[in-house]
């Protein structure tokens, strides 16, 4: 138990720190600070140009969705990076239990995704002049954290895929794009084709974005509690799928001796 806790906390922290290029200000500032602000501004101005929605709608949708960048890419890179450094094999032959091993890698990523969303929301609101009452902030913070958790669950799935696919960045980019169009980020689910709305209900961020918009409009926790719980449930579902995929592909890569091939 104690070993698993060490693997979870220390292993996760070390793995995150090993993504040292991500922690460089030369990457951190353009990726996690400039990127989300311009995504918010881009869609807010597209909305103004089309005469559709309001700044608050685009601000919240894109701020929450941008958590996907760290959540998907960092989790995918946690496997792809180990392969690149030739340490993946060493990790997978270790007797460490897989659940704390991989979930430990997810914890710092959740925090990263949450901070990126919070930063985007705060700065985006200041730039666009959207006023969010202070009273709604605690609830928004909870929703952002839950959304980052749910998206990291999907990130764990990409980590599993990374055991089979070398191009983890491409996979993460495609999933990021799918989340952008499916999750009601820039267009309400009601305006999407019905099949897309059905799919969206099974994706992370959809319910988080909906809850955040309701909270900004004055809803209480009682009003959005169920939506937030569904978002958390979706995150747990993907977390389990991710762990199963990691297990299956680990066994397969041992059997076919393809671990380092990617």
């Amino acid at each position: 138990m104690r070993t698993s806790a060490r693997v979870f906390f220390l292993g996760g922290l070390m793995s995150y720190r090993a993504l040292f290029t991500w922690l460089s200000p030369w990457i951190l500032i353009p990726t996690f600070m400039v990127g989300p602000i311009f995504q918010i501004l881009f869609f807010a101005y597209v909305g103004r140009s089309a005469g559709v929605g309001n700044d608050s709608f685009f601000l919240i949708g894109n701020a929450v969705q941008y958590a996907a960048i760290p959540c998907l890419f960092a989790m995918g890179n946690s496997i792809g990076g180990e392969r690149y450094e030739h340490t993946l094999g060493l990790i997978l032959v270790s007797p460490a239990r897989r659940v704390p091993l991989f979930l430990g890698r997810a914890l710092p990523v959740i925090v990263n995704g949450f901070v990126v969303s919070l930063f985007a929301l705060t700065v985006g609101a200041l730039v666009l002049g959207v006023s969010l009452p202070l009273s709604v902030l605690p609830l928004l913070v909870i929703v952002l954290a839950v959304s980052a958790f749910a998206c990291t669950g999907l990130g764990l799935v990409t980590a599993g895929i990374a055991l089979r696919v070398r191009e983890t960045a491409v996979v993460s980019n495609v999933i990021f794009g799918l989340l952008l169009i499916f999750c009601g980020v820039n267009a309400p689910l009601s305006s999407l084709p019905r099949w897309m709305a059905v799919v969206a209900n099974w994706l992370p961020l959809t319910h988080g974005i909906a809850a955040a918009r309701k909270i900004a409009a004055g809803a209480t926790f009682t009003d959005v509690g169920r939506t937030v719980a569904v978002e958390a449930g979706v995150g747990i579902m993907y977390l389990i799928i991710g762990l199963v995929l990691l297990r299956i592909f680990e066994v397969e890569s041992r059997r076919h001796a393809t671990l380092e091939l990617g």
Binding site: G47, L180, I181
Partner: protein, 256 residues
């Protein structure tokens, strides 16, 4: 070797190299389409059908910049990783004539994305774009791609000392989409942004593409686009010379 032949052969070689990765090739075409699809959904909610058509034309050009921004920023870093940067710099051919075909090939792949986005808009969203001046549209698209490749060339030589250049390229993708009028008219951007937009050749290229497709005379914008792109090419050439001299003097060319 003559300059046109050098650029032509370099471009063709780069096109073949870029076509080797199905993943990267597909991503170049698909990634901007995610943004275009979001835009179509936004416009479909309430804007007029003419605005939707204008959005389709603007969104289609987004892919050209998308194909160049990140890849151009990392192009020389990639050569350095492969150990070929010193060979390229040491060759008697001036560095700009080697880099320009690289960014031209990226912009050419972006033209695939342009066509794919127009077709996606037509068949998935029913947006029928009737080109008013087809020949001018084709010329404007090629000139815009050329201007984007020149912009990519400047980015490539500027970012040669920047280890994480991909992050810079990625971060520039949306700002250029925003301020060059791909989708958002310059008139609704803050006043101080407009002079910045006019200084970027792509702004004029996009305007020419829209005029050629939707109505208006594109030739003036095409001419301005070419002139501004020529200025960028000159700036990039000077920069390349300075940076190569600096790297030779300090023996830092191969250092990451």
């Amino acid at each position: 070797m003559s300059v046109p032949r050098l650029i032509g052969l370099g471009w063709w070689l780069q096109m073949k190299m870029r076509s080797r990765s199905a993943f990267d090739g597909a991503l170049s075409i698909i990634y901007p389409m995610f943004f275009a699809t979001s835009v179509f959904f936004i416009y479909r909610q309430g804007a007029s059908s003419s605005a939707l058509v204008a959005a389709a034309v603007g969104a289609s050009v987004m892919g050209v910049w998308s194909a160049v921004a990140t890849t151009a920023a990392t192009s020389l870093q990639g050569e350095r990783r492969q150990g070929t940067l010193e060979l390229l710099v040491a060759s008697p051919t001036p560095l700009p004539l080697i880099v320009v075909p690289i960014t031209l090939s990226m912009a050419a792949i972006g033209l695939y994305s342009l066509v794919a986005t127009l077709l996606w808009g037509r068949f998935a969203f029913g947006i029928k774009v009737s080109l008013l001046h087809p020949l001018a549209f084709a010329v404007a698209c090629v000139v815009t791609a050329l201007s984007v490749s020149v912009l990519g060339f400047v980015l490539a030589v500027t970012a040669v000392r920047y280890r994480s250049a991909w992050a810079l390229g990625t971060a520039l993708e949306l700002p250029i989409w925003l301020i060059c009028g791909f989708l958002v008219p310059l008139s609704i951007l803050p006043h101080w942004v407009r002079p910045l937009s006019w200084l970027i050749p792509t702004t004029w290229g996009v305007s020419a593409v829209k005029r050629a497709a939707l109505g208006g005379m594109p030739w003036r914008d095409i001419a301005i686009c070419l002139v501004v792109a020529a200025v960028y090419a000159a700036i990039g050439t000077l920069l390349a010379g300075r940076l190569v001299d600096s790297a030779r003097t300090n023996a830092t060319l191969s250092l990451i």
